[in-house]
Amino acid sequence: MFSLFIENFRISISAVLANKMRSLLTALGVVIGILAVTLMGTLISGLDKSFEKSMEFLGKDVIYIRKYEWFGDKEWWEMRNRPNIKIKHADVIRERSQYAEYVAPISEWYTSVKRADDDINGVRITGTTDTYAMISTAEIEKGRFFSKTENRSGSRVAIIGKDIADNLFENENALGETFQIGNYTFRVIGELEKQGKFLGMFSLDKQIIIPIGTHRRLFTRRGWSGINVKVDGTQLDNATEELTALMRQLRHVRPTEDDNFALNRQDPFKEQYSMIKLAIGGTGFFITVLSLVVGGIGIANIMFVTVKERTREIGTRKALGATPKMILMQFLMESITICLFGGLFGLALAWGGSLIINQYFPSEMPINLALTALGLSMLVGVISGLAPSYKAAKLDPIDALRYE
């Protein structure tokens, strides 16, 4: 039986190669189907990676006390009327909270920075305390974070993000050099490692961290403030409950009133993300199924034509001793081969596509998915080849031999 398998494979290959254009056009549906499913997989893997990285930035054990909710159904104008988060509450939280491990007040403002002829607009200037280094996942690549003393004394020192370092200092060593934030001169004491974009939206590297005292003094009443609290990751819910009570007390919220602040965490991002992922996956799946079905119909059609064209050959083969099953296998194999070629072609295109996608955000083509896709294309071959092959197998040898 093995030699028959080889023979069938040989026939299939030569039939596909003899009609290259026809085979390609026939397999186009399968090509597109495989392309869709693998590119979708690549995209999702890339999204996963970038999402993981962004979530890493937020940290799963950090509670962000803010004026605005990151997610939820509250109207922004309702939240706008809330009082601002007072950074002095950070000290109270540090003293009274059981769950808080580190507490860092945050003050943020966007402004331009410059050095000599270079300037950058819209840089995020974060004012915080030395505790921030304990909460943030971003590592200091060069230099150091500011000290407690520098924080207290309101020194004009800055830790700069990768984008700032690259643009203002290019190839120079930035440490110890000075530059302007707005109209004020600062000295670089540290450089952050490259962090990339947050969910592909804004760069985390276009950031400068300075002592909060300095920030308050120079940029006071501008921007917004908040408190970042790092807690024990296993006590997130308890910590949230405790901090809510504490904040209500500090802000004198009456028992009948709603919270006028938000405790943000990374988990709602995950929920949102799974929905997006589901939408992408669903669309990809739909396109894949649709093109495979259409492709399968095309292949069935061309296989009927092939059987018709080769009726005499079928007759001859039957006269020479081929059983119906052998003929069935021959044409089934041919249909599978067309689909396999289509699948491989689709995979090659997808591989090229994934290299291009990789240029824009890091991703890789999932091998398992590629193999599943190949299996799927073969399945399409079997299903769409079944009816034409059965027709070939059932041909009467006399009629087939006489067929002109």
Partner: protein, 228 residues
């Protein structure tokens, strides 16, 4: 003992509500190493008889015995097997696979007979050698002349060492010189002990055979043996 025995063979078709008796009570026995020509005008039933003998078709009623095996109640798989093992077909239009080499064409019956590759190659080469195409084994049909193509087809018919060689108008598509060469091969095969059945409407082709059956309206009108 007879190789082939057909007893009271009827083949009845129903064409548009009308009964057509393609074979109307045929009785033939063929012995080993016979050289038989089947003749008759079109519609006489000679093609039907040939298909019957070649196990491509089964009779409506009647008994067909081939080397002791009852062909008349075989299913498609059994018929395929008996064609593969015991019958070598030669067609008027050669019916070679255009994309395969001469050698590969000759291997086809062996592939269906599940013969191992190395054995297959040497058997096909020997068969081509015996029809004088030893130097054309790796040529494709379009690189061969009509006569050479038919010789490849004969090699393909021979390669399984069948009990009968069944040739349907084997010279019908050839010029007279090639036709003569082909008939010489059949004569030689007969000399070598093979059983050959020719279907033809040419008297000079039938003249090669030692026995001639003439059909008319599905009945044997004449069964004539040359005295050796």
């Amino acid at each position: 003992m007879s190789l082939i025995s057909l007893k009271d063979i009827y083949k009845i078709y129903n064409v548009g509500g009308e009964e057509v008796r393609a074979l109307d009570g045929v009785n033939v026995t063929i012995k080993e190493n016979e050289y038989l020509a089947i003749m008759g005008p079109s519609g006489s039933g000679k093609s039907t008889l040939m298909n019957m003998i070649g196990c491509l078709d089964t009779p409506t009623t009647g008994l067909y015995e081939f080397e002791g095996e009852m062909v008349n109640d075989m299913d498609d798989n059994q018929l395929a097997s008996i064609r593969n093992r015991k019958i070598g077909f030669v067609f008027q239009t050669f019916n070679l696979l255009p994309k395969a080499t001469a050698q590969h064409n000759v291997e086809i019956p062996l592939i269906y007979g599940n013969v191992r590759r190395d054995q297959r190659k040497s058997m096909a080469a020997a068969a081509l050698e015996s029809v004088g195409l030893g130097d054309r084994m790796h040529h494709k049909p379009n690189e061969l002349s009509g006569g050479q193509r038919q010789r490849v087809a004969i090699a393909r018919a021979l390669v399984n060492n069948p009990s009968i060689i069944l040739a349907d108008e084997p010279t019908g598509n050839l010029d007279s010189k090639s036709g003569r060469e082909i008939m010489e091969i059949f004569d030689a095969l007969h000399e070598a002990g093979n059983t050959i059945i020719l279907v033809t409407h040419e008297d000079y082709i039938a003249a090669h055979a030692s026995r001639t059956i003439r059909l008319f309206d599905g009945k044997i009108k004449e069964d004539f043996s040359k005295v050796a």
